[in-house]
Subunit: 380 residues, 2 copies
């Protein structure tokens, strides 16, 4: 919680604009985070994962600081361009693209594309000639709080064929990417993936295909309830792993922080709508907020991300609560399997602060579920 | 699939407007569904659950047919009024309401409110005097495909106290409600809940509080892959249960169909973006569509709702697929635990039709996740 956010929220209340939940993002924190990434990995280019928070002010700040951008769609490419990024600083990092979207990105000047299959290489070869492609490989994301599925990436054994096909079709077989899982608390998880990458570099070099780049992905955590290692610790671990597996022929590297860049820069203010019990002997209180899974807190699915929640009566005696959202949807429950301890003196109408909500909140909001508007957001 | 929807989609393709996924809802099907509900339960008022699909055309049609409306928020109340419903045909059915939203609903003329706690009764008593309230009770929703959590309703033992408090505070203790779970395939599930209701009616009558109404909730299924009983079968089972538990002093009844009213009226057309395998020996193909959990198909969470998917090559040999959405989010997978059989000859770029998507799709769409726009929708 920064002083600037506190002052903003006080003004919002004074002016009576506090009629629904809102996110406030402090750009000073984003600036600090960018600097930390640059210092922790000085030879690595930062591609901010636009999907984490595409607010124009965030993108403009990062563009001015020298960041590049990892994008998931043509709309995100256009946002990055509008924020002042030149097209050579933009990666179209989604491995699932319509051919006409690849063509549009190419028209806009983008020349760096992610792939994980031969079919995707063929699309890019047809409409984005001579572009660079990198192949995403599957890697073990165990330990991550938001572990990734098998959706992105191919088996490491398949990657050489995908990249050879790219080279054979006039594309530049540029490198590899992997992702150790979002909110990854273990800096050593990069080691095994980098070993796979080095093997593929060697295998392809023997066939005359020389890769140049390793995309180290994201995964850098933000602080929720538990402490996480500082980004410097990640930088050191990654540098050691690179040296171990690539010797003195280090590849170009890029990282794609999203949550790690903006997560701790944002705070959501929400309101307690109702506190009730389901029966007289219910050991739990149900605390209903005016924000839930469908208007900003989608990442509480399966209770994976556990946000810190501050109340006006922190410090008082606490008791276990189920926390739920305001919609008429029975799955709109934030924390139930592991109840959340909140002050017993918390009252209906109180404002609570949900910390670490700068990433993956605004754009996840549903457009009008149950008639509730998407999450309001302010960047200061 | 209706002839009108087919013709609409053909025209959309001819005109080159088929650039992203879209939902098409056929009002003729909604009209038939309304008639079926009215005939199946002739003495029961229909309160359409606006959250299922709040398209103005759907609301206007239902208002003109005589439907009443179950709403979750002030915004939904305003939509129902705009569609031509008078306020006495509107129920504010969310048990979680800000006091200022109750006040606004009262200003708009609404006089029927759901509660499940004493705190909610107190809010309504303060700002919506002399209104009718009904208390939602928890009931067993086992067997439902979208089973409800404990989020809404109180233990039946608590309901008399909640309703007595309402009466003591100048409100009209009007009745009870329950919900047997969305997409409930078993018409007999209403029986046990109605037994609870009859007991509460008797208990309160002994204390001089005379309830008048039972809200039978929703739960009426729409047809996805499996056949479901016709609404007439539900009507008969409910009528038998009412007679069994209330004898010849039948209460007023209302139902709140949402999915059952609009689910089968809608079809989503989507496009195959990519088909790939994760490794050479992968027994599964991955089929990526341009629609996923975040732009319309949220109800595939935990693979609960399994939509029928039609392809241009239906009838050809099939093989198992994982089906996933287009976003860079690893949880955006529709069906994986139970793979989906699709034709082996299905190709990238093909259009597929996802049936039974008239309910709980458009408004669940995220506003801009990954830069993808919310689901386009047409009502014809």
């Amino acid at each position: 919680m920064t002083e600037r956010i506190q002052e903003f929220l006080r003004a919002r209340r004074r002016e009576g604009r506090d009629n629904g939940p809102c996110l406030v993002v402090d750009l000073d924190v984003v600036r600090d985070n960018y600097r930390d990434f640059s210092r922790a990995l000085p030879d690595t280019r930062v591609y901010y994962a636009v999907k984490a928070n595409p607010a124009p002010e965030v993108l403009s700040l990062l563009a001015s600081l020298g960041s590049s951008f990892d994008t998931a769609s043509v709309a995100e490419i256009e946002l990055a361009l509008a924020a002042g990024a030149s097209p050579e600083r933009i990666s179209f990092g989604n491995t699932i693209k319509k051919e006409r979207d690849v063509a549009r990105a190419y028209q806009l000047g983008v020349r760096l594309f992610a792939v994980d299959s031969e079919a995707e290489v063929e699309k890019i070869a047809r409409v984005a000639p001579r572009s660079k492609v990198f192949c995403r490989i599957l890697c073990d994301g165990s330990g991550a709080e938001w572990p990734l599925s098998r959706k992105f990436g191919c088996a490491p054994e398949m990657a050489p064929r995908v990249l050879e096909l790219a080279q054979a079709n006039g594309l530049i077989a540029y490198g590899l990417s992997f992702h150790v899982g979002s909110q990854q608390p273990n800096p050593r998880m990069w080691d095994k993936a980098l070993e796979s990458c080095a093997n593929i570099f060697r295998e392809l070099a023997e066939r005359g295909v020389y890769l140049q780049m390793v995309n180290l992905g994201g995964g850098f955590p933000t602080r929720y309830l538990k402490s996480v290692p500082k980004v410097r610790i990640y930088g050191n671990a990654i540098f050691r792993a690179l040296s171990k597996h690539f010797g003195n022929r280090l590849p170009e590297t890029i990282i794609e922080p999203g949550r790690g860049m903006v997560g701790n820069a944002g705070i959501i203010e929400a309101e307690v709508v109702l506190i009730s019990k389901k029966s007289d002997d219910d050991p739990l209180r149900w605390v209903f907020l005016d924000i839930g899974k469908f208007n900003g807190l989608a990442e509480t699915t399966d209770e994976m991300i556990r946000y810190p929640i501050r109340t006006p009566v922190d410090g008082a005696a606490v008791g276990p609560c189920v926390i739920a959202g305001p919609s008429c949807d029975s799955v709109d429950i934030l924390y139930e399997k592991t109840p959340y301890e909140l002050p017993v003196s918390l009252e209906i109408g109180a404002k609570v602060l949900i910390e670490g909500t700068g990433a993956y909140t605004t754009t996840y909001s549903s457009i009008a579920f149950n008639g509730f508007p998407p999450l309001e957001a302010y960047v200061i």
